[in-house]
């Protein structure tokens, strides 16, 4: 909502400069988003008259600025005789110097100014009155000595969507009385009458209208046009402009119908019928349904109530007689209809937020007066005012103490009383309590808390003391899942991985392309995604991580070690919320080490990612098993499923060469990826750390090397060794190499006995048994 201070001054006296005004209103709840001080932007702009136009790629115009004619290049569309703001080269506008500029072999000696030159948002031409003398400086024209303030009006303050509304708050803040609009409406008697019937009284509790005959459709006077431009509305013709002007002034949206185009001099306010449609003023056909309110003539809808009028009955250059509609529509009905039709207009914006039902006649009369004055219309003395019900002022009972307790500040009774009254509410004292009557233009005050806020905001939030509450509470411990997840972040980031955060939505097509899902029906779809790139909730972290790798590789990052902890989304039962397990994903690609002098350059592989995951399993205290994966995203021979409590809780390994091929990366880029479901594992594990006594007798260390087929799984041998004897404390693999079809594996076995020192025989016995068992089970043989 853009406010012109000049215009606002017609409603209330502003006793300070624009910046102070903005600060005071912002601090009492009307936040200003921007301020344009027009008077500081004018520079040397003055009035020029277009004398000649030569059209071409660039239009050349000759402009008379009284003392001389200047040639200017412009892309604005102008007519001969137009008076427009112009700045001669060497001058200044919008705090910028204007210089001569050559176009081809011709020089432009200035600029024609549009609203944009003065710092306003939309680019529109400003056409001045014909009567203004050429060469007049704009700073000498009253309407240019103005400041425009863009207020961000919160949805509860529909009453502030007009000059009058802002003036009401300003009058409370600055303690200045509201000024009354003074105008004199002359009415005439006509035979013609318009009948109005309101069928749907719930959605239209009041319908006022005035008939005006023989209007002269033309351009509005400069004052109206310029004020509309300042507020971001493009002028059309005097009638349309006046309806908009009154809406901006008083907050009441109006609509003008061309009476001669109505079928039978009757207006019916009713629900639309299924199957009906209307072509609205913007030229679009709108399909209507019976939950929508329309204004109709005898035959068909002529406007969608509170949103937009119909094209057919709209005002045109030929229009002679008009009906000005000034109605009150149910905010919910307007909102639902506008949403359904995907429409949002200045009118619907106001009706949705609430328009004063007791101001319809005033708005209609003010518009009628302006039309009489600027369109030479003749106003019929018969007016329409269908009022289905009264709109009583809401009563709220409060006590001074309630107000003080909500705010937490000792504001005196009298101050509270004065503040409430200054906001145009009446107040009756009733012993300890008082009754506030809420005026009909406020739609946001229902209870004592609301009144407390009104008092607090005018009193000033910054004058309220800051106190710490004394709620005596011990905070509860974080969930194990949250604690574990933070710990994992620390471990992985301290060990070289960088944390990423990806969007929770992904592209369904991409999931399919990379074999990450089998069936699209498993996915949780977003009904209104921003783009098809983000149309489903991620069922896996792998796609996001893969895309991170692709992005980084494409930007020549040679080493990409990443992890993410976030939720994935698995469809639940119909109508129930989905399952959102917290998931850990890891992606490794490229060089294992940063370039350095002490390590050979090698690439990440399966055992790197396995190491990271093993750290995590150890941290959680989870025993897992590894099983060859059937997941088509992964390399069939270089990846594994993670099995925990007989359930697959994750998978990791190299991705399938076919998937790499589809990414467009070179096949030599190995990418190791994986993810595990943390929620699943953390719920079922517990980690107890209990001190283990230091060995009292010396540990014995023995190395054995075995030769075996390459296909033998070393993990199985490890388990076999550990199971052989209770004195085997730990087994390391210290050596591994392959030779032809065989491989050689070196095991270092640590023996521990807490009762006595081992004898050589005892040690040999254990080692012999170990060797014997491995030889039998794995067809391995000891290397001598």
């Amino acid at each position: 909502m853009i406010v012109s201070l000049n215009w606002l001054n017609e409603f209330v006296e502003i006793p300070c400069d624009a910046r102070e005004f903005v600060y005071r209103l912002t601090m009492s709840g009307l936040e200003a988003e921007g301020i344009v001080c027009l008077n500081e932007m004018l520079g040397s702009a003055r009035v020029g008259e277009i004398k000649d136009i030569k059209k071409g790629n660039i239009n050349w115009v000759t402009v008379d600025i009284k003392d001389k004619d200047i040639e200017i290049a412009t892309n604005l569309s102008l007519n001969i005789g137009d008076k427009i703001p112009v700045v001669e080269a060497g001058g200044e506008v919008g705090k910028r110097k204007v210089q001569e500029k050559a176009f081809g072999n011709k020089v432009s000696y200035g600029v024609i100014c549009s609203t944009k030159n003065f710092g306003m948002e939309n680019e529109e031409l400003i056409k001045l009155e014909k009567e203004v003398e050429n060469g007049t400086y704009l700073r000498d024209i009253k309407e240019f000595d103005d400041c425009l303030i863009d207020f961000d009006i919160t949805p509860n303050r529909g009453d502030c969507l007009s000059m009058l509304g802002i003036a009401r708050d300003a009058s409370a803040i600055f303690n200045k009385p509201l000024k009354k609009l003074e105008y004199n409406l002359e009415e005439e008697r006509f035979e013609q009458k318009i009948k109005v019937t309101v069928e749907n009284t719930r959605d239209c509790p009041r319908y006022s209208a005035r008939l005006i005959k023989n209007v002269n459709i033309k351009e509005s006077p400069f004052l109206i046009r310029f004020r509309l431009l300042k507020c971001g509305i493009r002028p059309i013709n005097n009638i349309v402009d006046i309806t908009n002007y009154v809406m901006l002034a008083l907050g009441q949206p109006l609509h003008a119908f061309d009476v001669e185009k109505l079928k039978g001099s009757e207006i019916i306010v009713r629900s639309a019928r299924n199957g009906e449609s209307i072509i609205t003023l913007d030229g679009k056909e709108r399909m209507l349904s019976e939950d929508m309110l329309v204004i109709a003539d005898r035959t068909k809808p002529i406007a969608i109530a509170g949103i937009m009028g119909g094209e057919e009955t709209g005002v045109t250059e030929e229009t002679r007689d008009i009906l000005i509609e000034s109605a009150h529509f149910n905010p919910v009905s307007v909102r639902m209809t506008a949403r359904k039709l995907l429409m949002h207009t200045e009118a619907s914006h106001r009706f949705e937020r609430g328009v004063d039902p007791e101001n319809t006649m005033e708005a209609a009369n003010y518009a009628a007066y302006l039309i009489q004055r600027y369109a030479q219309g003749h106003v019929s003395q018969d007016f329409v005012d269908v009022k289905v019900k009264d709109f009583p002022e809401r009563g709220i009972i409060c006590s001074y103490n309630d107000i003080r307790e909500i705010i937490g500040c000792d504001i005196e009774d009298e101050k509270i009383r004065d503040t409430i009254k200054s906001l145009h509410m009446s107040l009756e004292d009733r012993k300890e309590r008082f009754l506030v009557r809420v005026p009909t233009f406020r739609f946001d005050l229902f209870q004592c808390e609301d009144i407390a806020e009104e008092v607090a905001r005018i009193y000033g939030y910054n004058r309220i003391p800051s106190i710490l509450p004394s709620t005596p509470l011990l905070s509860q411990k974080k969930s194990r899942l949250a604690t574990v997840s933070e710990k994992i972040k620390d471990v992985l980031s301290n060990n070289g991985l960088s944390e990423v955060i990806n969007y929770s939505f992904v592209n369904a097509e991409e999931l399919k392309k990379y074999n990450l899902i089998r069936d699209e029906d498993e996915l949780i779809k977003i009904s209104n995604p921003l783009s098809s790139e983000q149309n489903v909730m991620r069922p896996t972290l792998l796609l996001g991580l893969l895309n991170n790798v692709i992005l980084n590789v494409s930007r020549s990052v040679l080493r990409v070690p990443l992890f993410e902890i976030g939720r994935i989304f698995i469809k639940g039962e119909r109508g129930r919320l989905p399952y959102e397990p917290l998931t850990l994903g890891i992606a490794l690609s490229g060089r294992r080490y940063e370039p350095c002098w002490y390590e050979r350059e090698t690439d990440f592989d399966f055992y790197d990612i396995k190491g990271f995951f093993e750290d995590v399993f150890y941290l959680i205290g989870a025993d897992v098993e590894y099983r060859q994966t059937k997941n088509p995203f992964f390399h069939p021979q270089k990846a594994t499923d993670v099995v925990f409590e007989k359930k697959i809780v994750g998978h990791f390994g190299e991705i399938h060469p076919e998937v790499i091929h589809k990414t467009g990366l070179k096949v030599k880029n190995t990418i190791v990826l994986g993810e595990i479901n943390l929620s699943e594992m953390v719920e079922k594990t517990r980690k107890v750390i209990f001190f283990r006594r230091l060995p009292r007798y010396p540990l014995v260390i023995r190395d054995i090397s075995l030769l075996m087929e390459r296909s033998v799984q070393v993990g199985e041998i490890l388990k076999t060794i550990e199971d052989t004897d209770k004195h085997i404390d730990k087994v390391y693999i210290f050596d591994l190499f392959t030779k032809g079809k065989e491989k050689s594996v070196g095991f270092r076995i640590i023996l521990r006995n807490d009762e006595k020192t081992f004898t050589e025989d005892e040690v040999q016995y254990i080692i012999d048994r170990v060797v014997q068992r491995i030889e039998e089970k794995f067809a391995a043989r000891l290397r001598r």
Binding site: N156, G158, G408, A452, Y461, K478, N494, N495, G575
Partner: protein, 340 residues
């Protein structure tokens, strides 16, 4: 005899190895050495001369032995030093460092926020990211026909479900499941249909709530002031100004003095000198009613902030999309930043 010693000293001066020293030693103290000869002369002297002479020669012998043993020590040390010198390292070569990764900047800022509130005795609560429309809007005093819903551009999943537009539904869940008094924050991802340089369709929020019997707007000011000064520095200037949220009444926005221009006005603060940082208010009675609490008895305070905005201000990041692009070089900026 003095001459012998002088000569000896001269002779060993240039010797740097034990072999040569041994030879010289033999020439003086060996079986045929000159000092040994002098010793042998004793027997040829008369008794009275013998004593004097003997003392002198023996002193000479001890002196010589001492000189040799000292020299031998110093040669040994020299050799040792030489061999250590050969082991000299280039101490300017970079050390072996284990690779360091990094936490995401949003994780770092989230932790910082959580730590401050945990220090103020707040608990941490979480809830689902896909929520019932009922919890996200209706129970928070935002029925379907309410224009306040326009403030939240919402992603819908079918059947009354949506991507939560704030973490406030967690408050409804906690109110329903736990027993007051309550004091908790709810951090997490939230979603709004908006994307540009300062809006991301997914972002992070921390919202908080206190529920107790005696609470007023002034307490809210107290908590917010403590939190913001801990986060942005004890000197930070704040201002509270009225605003509107459907679930609180009275409601406020909190601005901090612009961290770049210190209130003088700059591009970051759109020349206002202040930065909007947080929304808060006294819990609306309708929210309590929806959750089954008697608003005559229970009072509540609530607040909420965007984590991205806090992180952007803290690290001077000017484009919100960088957080989710995950360029490794961007992420590495935050290596070892757990302490700042």
């Amino acid at each position: 005899m003095e001459e012998i010693l002088e000569k000896l000293k001269q002779e060993i001066k240039e010797i740097h190895n034990l072999e040569s020293l041994k030879k010289v030693k033999a020439a003086y103290l060996g079986k045929k050495g000159c000092i040994t000869k002098l010793l042998k002369n004793i027997s040829t002297l008369s008794a009275e001369k013998r004593k004097n002479y003997g003392e002198k020669v023996n002193r000479l012998k001890r002196e010589a032995e001492k000189i040799f043993s000292q020299k031998s020590e110093s040669i040994k040390k020299e050799i040792e030093n030489l061999s250590l010198e050969r082991e000299k390292l280039d101490i300017t070569l970079p050390g072996r460092r284990y690779a360091k990764g990094s936490l995401h900047p949003l994780s770092i800022v989230l932790r910082e926020i959580e730590d401050i509130f945990e220090g103020l005795n707040f608990s941490i609560e979480e809830g689902p990211e896909i929520e019932y429309e009922l919890y996200n809007f209706d129970m928070l005093n935002m029925p379907k026909e309410h224009p306040a819903r326009d403030m939240h551009d919402t992603f819908y999943i079918d059947e009354g479900m949506l991507l939560r537009t704030h973490t406030s539904p967690v408050q409804i869940r906690v109110l329903k499941e736990k027993v007051p008094p309550l004091m908790f924050i709810s951090p997490g991802k939230v979603y709004r249909r908006d994307a540009d340089i300062s809006h991301s369709p997914m972002f992070h929020q921390v919202e908080g709530m206190i529920v107790d019997k005696k609470l007023s707007f002034s307490h809210l000011k107290g908590i917010m002031t403590v939190f913001l000064r801990k986060f942005f520095g004890e000197e930070t200037e704040l201002r509270f100004r009225p605003s509107y949220f459907p679930f609180t009444e009275p409601s406020a926005e909190v601005d901090i003095q612009c961290i770049v221009c210190k209130g003088n006005g700059c591009r970051l603060c759109s020349y206002t000198g202040f930065l909007e940082i947080l929304g808060c208010g006294v819990v609306h009675p309708n929210v309590f009613k929806a959750a089954g609490y008697d608003p005559e008895i229970w009072k509540g305070l609530a607040f909420g902030m965007g984590v991205e905005r806090m992180a952007m201000l803290k690290y001077g990041i000017d484009d919100i999309r960088l957080f989710f692009e995950n360029d490794y070089r961007f992420l590495k900026n935050f290596s070892l930043t757990a302490v700042t």
